[in-house]
C-alpha cells in the first residue's frame, strides 16, 4: 500500500513520517512516533484526551488525518515541560491533585495552555467553558479548575 511521506514540525523538531490516508494524526503520534502522551478516549472528538495544537490551533488529533499535517507545526504534551522543569500548569495540576487516573490529563493541560494563551485572566466560568471539550470521569473537575485558575494567576506574575 502506498504511503504518504509527510514532513511536519513536532514540538520544535522537524519530523518525517510515512502514513496511510486512513491514519489519524493521533495514530501517527502514538503508533509511529512513539509520542503516547495524547490518548485515544473516544476517537470521535467528544472527549478531548487527544488534544494537541496544529499551527497553534487547539484540535482533537483523532479528527485530523496524518496527511493533513504536511508542513504544519504540532505541539503535544511531550513538548510542554522545559526539560525537567514542569510548565506552571503541570506543576499546579500536581499541587492541586487535579487528576486521578490521568488519561484526560495531557489533553486538559494542552487545552488549558491554549485557553490561557488567548485569555490570561479567565473567570472560573470561562475556564469551565474553555475546557468543556475535555472530559474527566474521575475528578468532578473541581481541582482541575482550581489548578488552572492558580496557574493563570502565577503566569500573570500576580
Amino acid at each position: 500500500m502506498k504511503k504518504h511521506h509527510i514532513s511536519a514540525t513536532i514540538n520544535g523538531d522537524e519530523v518525517d513520517f510515512l502514513c496511510e490516508t486512513s491514519e489519524t494524526l493521533l495514530d501517527v503520534l502514538r503508533d509511529d512516533l512513539n509520542l503516547t502522551g495524547a490518548k485515544e478516549g473516544c476517537g470521535t472528538g467528544d472527549c478531548g484526551a487527544c488534544s494537541v495544537t496544529l499551527d497553534g490551533v487547539l484540535v482533537c488529533s483523532c479528527l485530523v488525518l496524518g496527511v493533513e499535517a504536511e508542513g504544519k507545526e504540532i505541539e503535544t504534551i511531550e513538548g510542554m515541560a522545559d526539560g525537567d522543569e514542569l510548565h506552571p500548569l503541570q506543576r499546579k495540576f500536581v499541587e492541586h491533585i487535579a487528576l486521578q487516573c490521568g488519561i484526560c490529563t495531557p489533553g486538559l493541560l494542552i487545552s488549558a495552555r491554549s485557553l490561557l494563551e488567548k485569555n490570561p485572566d479567565p473567570t472560573e466560568e470561562e475556564v469551565r467553558f474553555g475546557l468543556a471539550g475535555n472530559l474527566c470521569r474521575c475528578t468532578g473537575y473541581q481541582n482541575i479548575i482550581k489548578a488552572v485558575m492558580d496557574a493563570a494567576q502565577e503566569m500573570r506574575g500576580a
Partner: protein
Amino acid sequence: MTEMRYEAPTTLDDAVALLADSKGSTTVLAGGTDVLVQIHMDLIEPDLIVDIKNIKELTAIKKEKGGYRFGAAVSGVELMDHEDFCQTWPGVMDGVKLIGSIQVKGRASVGGNVCNASPAADSVPALIAAGATATIVGPKGKREIPVEEIATGPGQTSLKDGELVVSFFLPNSPAGSGGAYQRFTPRTEMDIAVVGVGINLTLGDDGVCSAAKVALGAVAEKVLVVEEAAAALVGTQVDEAALDNLAAAASAACRPIDDKRGTKEYRIKVAGVLARRVALIALERAQGGQK
C-alpha cells in the same frame, strides 16, 4: 480499512475535476469533524478524499460589495477570531459558537455543518435567517442558491455529483436589523439541539418591524423557514401579542420526531418558547444598531 486516495487540490478547477472524474465513492474533507467520525464508525468508506482546505476561495473571509463572503472551509475559530465579522453578524456567530467544543471549532467549518445536513446543525438556522446564499461550483459551472435549498433531509443535500459549496454570502442588512440564534439543550455545552431557532428582523424608524425571517432547527427532516412566524412579527412593534402569535406559528410549523433528546410534544412546545426568546434578542440587537 481499504486503501483510500487522498488529494489536496489548490484550485477550484482541480477540485471539481477530481470530484467529477472519480469512479468510486468520494468524500469532500473540510474540517473533518464529521467525516473522520463517519470513517471511524465505518459509516462511509470513501475511495477518494478531496481535502479542500488548500483552495483560497474556500478559506477566505472578506467584505464584498453588498455583503460579507466567507469560504465554506473556514473554521469556526477563524470566524470567532475575526472581530469585524463577529460584530457584523452576531446572530450567525451565535450558531457557529455552539458547534462542538473549542477543539471541534478549531477544525469544523460552516460548509461542513451545512453539507453534513443534520436537521439540528447549529449554524444553519442562523445562516438562513440572515438570508445567506451559497456559491456552488460543479462540472456545469457556478450557481448561487439560498442556504435553505442545500439540505433536503438528514444527511441528504441537493448537491449534484461533482458539486462543491465554495462560499457563503451574507447580504448587508438594512439599518435597524438584528439577528440571533439560540438552541435548547439539556446541557449548556457539548450537546445537540433539541430545538434551534434563528430569527433576523428589521425595524423601521417608527420601531415597527418591516421584515423578518424565522428558521427552526431540529423539528423536521431539515431546517424549516416559517413564513407564518415571520408574518406574526411584521407590522408589529414585536410586542407581547406579536410574540404570542410568533410562538404559536413556530409551534404549528413543527413536524418533529420522538428521540432520546425529546418527544414530539416537547419539541413543539419548546419551539414556541424559544422563538419568543430569540425574537427578543434579535429585537434588542436591532434596537442597538447591531445586525
